[in-house]
Symmetry: C2
Subunit: 300 residues, 2 copies
């Protein structure tokens, strides 16, 4: 047990180092007039990189194509990073602190923040389509489709629109769940599905469905834990402004069902994720199991 | 001659009708909380659709795959539309009138305008990757790569960053050209290249290079004419605020070289575009020839 935990930590450290190196190479400072600099600021030296880890762990479980998975891992992180840049802007959450640093619009101005987010989204799709034979073309197309669907109007952006419209309104638990399923859940689930899409031979449909279930469960768990941490953690640990959801009268799991029941829900979703991994019938799911624990037990 | 002009008009009318229908289908009102509505507002019932026409004409010249070209035509228009939405926002150009209607942020608020732009970009890549066999997977990947590169930090977004940084500064003609090459040129050129990428059999490299040259020439011509129209046309004809570049102290071809020399440059670029078409050696370039004329002779 101790060995397997240590082993997971070693795996995480090694994967993170690969991802950071790749992001630093691919998010080049070349883009003109400060744009490259602002893009790098938004992406590098920060973040838990949960989504890249999910891609890489799912790829390992699926017996996947490493070069494709690294591109997918970085692409999904770029989408996440751009969404934070835009989300922090004054017309959205108007936040000044992110990952312990001034937000991009505070550092570079609103116009450049807007453009940096836009360019990061485009770069995600550029990474997925290398234009050589390093990734099979059909896999490139699959990865683009999964990412585009998860990011768009019926995914992350749609969830943000619901979030905007919900400020100051009472939401029921199903409504809150539907919002988060889009806002945070779709991209986390897509991370798993993109790892699966890197498989050299397609997985059986039952295994694919089980991993999709796993992705949905940890997607929701992530948000529940986020809501819990917004109440229980300090800004200094969180690296962003704590308590801001409550201050903004945003509906959260904690405001809706209280702290204790939120914590119970997070545990239940963790159990559900672990059951889905068992149901997948795949042998190499240890990383995915540990990542599910990480999502629920994290302190920031 | 008269017959061929008429023929072009008929072709344009028919292509536009196909594109409008496809856009209306693909930009669905489904996205939640007003997002779908704002996306449709940004895209439908307006615009010259020059980029889609370039994709479709280039596809015709290249002997291309019609279903792929229609998706590419709509995808490039979505990128164009999203860029206008973000460009009009208060932190950028702060414009209130576009295509004769209130801009998206005036109509729906800044936050929804930001999200609508983001979701339209994602949708562009979703359109290019239909997930069935209607477009060959390698073609899907090629189209995504061309569009992502043209839209990103070393394309359109990069050009906008230069544009931002240049307000109030004197630019030389080469600097202005470099800015517009990215800001407007890359996406117009990509429209041609995406049409070419729909070819059922790849074109000879010389023909590809010639069409890329054609795309570069009309890309620049488009911007020169835009600058001319900003000075010579009425807002009511233009459908957007005329004279705003001059008011914002933005460097333009007209401010740099005067109206007469700008008009001469536009004509020269038109001639260059037509030469490139000849050099391509392709037989079916009549549509591309007429589109080049349209770019330079347009009144709005």
């Amino acid at each position: 047990m101790t060995f397997s935990l240590l082993d997971f930590d070693t795996w995480v450290t090694s994967q993170l180092s690969t991802v950071e190196h790749a992001l630093s190479q691919w998010v080049s400072p070349d883009a003109p007039a400060g744009l490259g600099e602002s893009m790098r600021y938004a992406v590098l030296d920060g973040g838990k990189r949960l989504r890249p880890l999910l891609v890489l762990a799912a790829c390992e479980a699926a017996g996947g194509h490493g070069a494709a998975a690294l591109r997918a891992a970085c692409a999904v992180e770029l989408i996440h990073a751009y969404s934070l840049v835009h989300d922090d802007m004054p017309c959205m959450d108007n936040d000044v602190l992110r990952r312990g640093k001034p937000t991009v619009h505070v550092q570079f101005g609103e116009a450049l923040a807007l453009l940096a987010g836009d360019a990061l989204q485009a770069l995600a799709f550029e990474l997925l389509t290398p234009g050589d034979s390093s990734v099979p073309p059909a896999m490139q197309a699959d990865l683009c489709r999964l990412l585009a669907c998860a990011a768009g109007g019926n995914g992350m952006a749609g969830g943000q629109a619901i979030d905007l419209a919900s400020v100051g309104h009472a939401l029921s638990e199903p409504e809150l769940r539907a919002m988060h399923k889009l806002k945070t859940g779709r991209l986390l689930q897509a991370s798993v599905l993109m790892g699966v899409a890197c498989a050299r031979t397609p997985l059986p449909p039952t295994a694919q469905a089980a991993l999709a279930e796993y992705g949905a469960a940890i997607g929701l768990a992530f948000q529940v834990v986020d809501d819990i941490l917004d109440v229980t953690a300090d800004s200094s640990v969180l690296g962003k402004t704590a308590g801001k959801d409550a201050a903004a009268e945003k509906p959260t799991y904690v405001s809706l069902m209280g702290l204790e029941r939120s914590e119970a829900l997070a545990d239940e979703l963790l159990a559900q994720a672990q059951r889905s991994l068992l149901e997948s019938g795949l042998p190499n799911v240890a990383r995915l199991r540990s990542l599910a624990e990480l999502v629920v037990k994290r302190k920031k």
